[in-house]
């Protein structure tokens, strides 16, 4: 054994696979988190109306959350199959040629993100719904008396009241997105940890796993883990500053 000094960290800077994984983590994170939270907000707004069978919808929205990553990824691998998958079969009717959801870069990242979106949208919607139900009715009444339309009420009453909740979901989703691991691991049809043949959907968590458990470079894996932690702290600081700015501006 040899003293490696900071070599495990310095080699990260000219490690193309690391930066590839970092980029993939960022893009998959954006593709999965932004639509997920936007849809969750819309869904919560609808669930906040007086509904028939509202309990049914709430249970349904939470069903994906109760599914394990392994089961969800298995289904989505089958659904996203290039030759026999249901999604390409459906696209065929709309006149879109078969998409290679495994090997093409953006389709594969969208497919991996869709697993994340499917599992977490309902969960976030229920969090938003709980916060929406705590908004006092008087605020809406006075807004309506002042002539605010429903859309204006949503913008100027609902959204500001939900600010702490939105911050919470953004932080939790960001942490989750930076650690996406199971979905890309199990989405790979070749059962490797490389995130596809050309590392096209390898995330940082998956790269860490590949370095540590496949290539047996535990030192490098640990260095990657610490670098991920530092990136997460940076994101946390940015989040904090933005939320401070938002609070100060109102």
């Amino acid at each position: 054994m040899q003293w490696a000094g900071m070599r495990n960290y310095t080699r990260i800077f000219d490690d193309d696979f690391f930066w590839n994984a970092a980029k993939n983590t960022l893009t998959i994170g954006i593709i999965s988190t932004v639509p997920q939270l936007a849809m969750a907000m819309g869904l919560a707004h609808i669930l906040n109306y007086k509904l028939r069978a509202s309990t049914f919808y709430r249970v349904v929205m939470l069903a994906p959350y109760a599914t394990s990553i392994a089961a969800a990824s298995l289904v989505f691998v089958l659904l996203f199959g290039r030759d026999y998958g249901m999604i390409n079969w459906g696209l065929h009717f709309v006149g879109i040629d078969a998409i290679d959801w495994q090997n093409d870069k953006w389709p594969s990242q969208i497919a991996v993100s869709s697993i994340v979106i499917w599992r977490w949208t309902g969960y976030n919607a229920l969090i938003y719904l709980a916060a929406m139900q705590a908004i006092p009715q008087d605020l809406y009444e006075s807004a309506a008396l002042d002539g605010a339309s429903r859309w204006k009420q949503f913008l100027h009453v609902t959204l500001p009241s939900l600010r702490p909740t939105i911050l919470f979901t953004v932080v939790v989703s960001t942490i989750g997105a930076s650690q996406v691991f199971g979905e890309p691991l199990l989405f790979d049809a070749n059962k490797g940890a490389s995130g596809g043949a050309e590392h096209q959907f390898q995330t940082l968590g998956l790269y860490l796993y590949e370095q540590g458990w496949v290539n047996m470079h535990l030192g490098r894996a640990s260095a990657i883990a610490w670098t991920m932690f530092l990136i997460l702290i940076l994101i946390g600081i940015v989040n904090y500053v933005i939320s401070r700015r938002l609070r100060a501006s109102s």
């Binding site: 998958g85 009444e141 919470f168």
Partner: protein, 132 residues
């Protein structure tokens, strides 16, 4: 963070007492009935949430050969008990069930126990370097 989420929800009154002077135009937010568009959107989300789950059940009742054909199967086949037999006998599903139950039970009990006493400590006890 969690407290700000759950506490108001618990206090929330699902049906606020009816006020006498409430103009019709002022009814808003949680008071409004959902329109047909809301139900259409909800139906789409319901299908999207349940389709992968239902399709897993369909796939569980089919064989590999049928799953590798277009169009994919849309209804249950007759292979369910054969697949269950393989899962139980060859893939050792029973053992996996026991393992899962054990891990889930022990971790859930431990988490609830530790969280309860830790929550009490954070809320009630004074100690060095506490938040307040």
């Amino acid at each position: 963070m969690t407290t700000t989420l759950t506490k108001p929800a618990a206090d929330a009154d699902p049906q606020p007492p009816k006020r006498v002077r409430r103009p019709k135009s002022a009814r808003a937010g949680g008071q409004m009935h959902a329109g047909p568009i809301a139900y259409v959107i909800l139906a789409l989300f319901t299908i999207g949430s349940l389709l992968p789950l239902v399709w897993t059940a369909i796939a569980a009742s089919r064989d590999n050969q049928r799953l590798a054909q277009t169009p994919p199967p849309f209804w249950f086949g007759g292979n369910l008990f054969h697949n269950l037999d393989i899962a139980w006998n060859d893939a050792n599903l029973g053992k996996a069930f026991i393992n899962t139950t054990f891990v889930a039970g022990v971790s859930a009990l431990t988490i609830v126990f530790l969280s309860t006493i830790a929550g009490f400590a954070f809320a009630k006890l004074r100690f060095m370097a506490a938040a307040r």
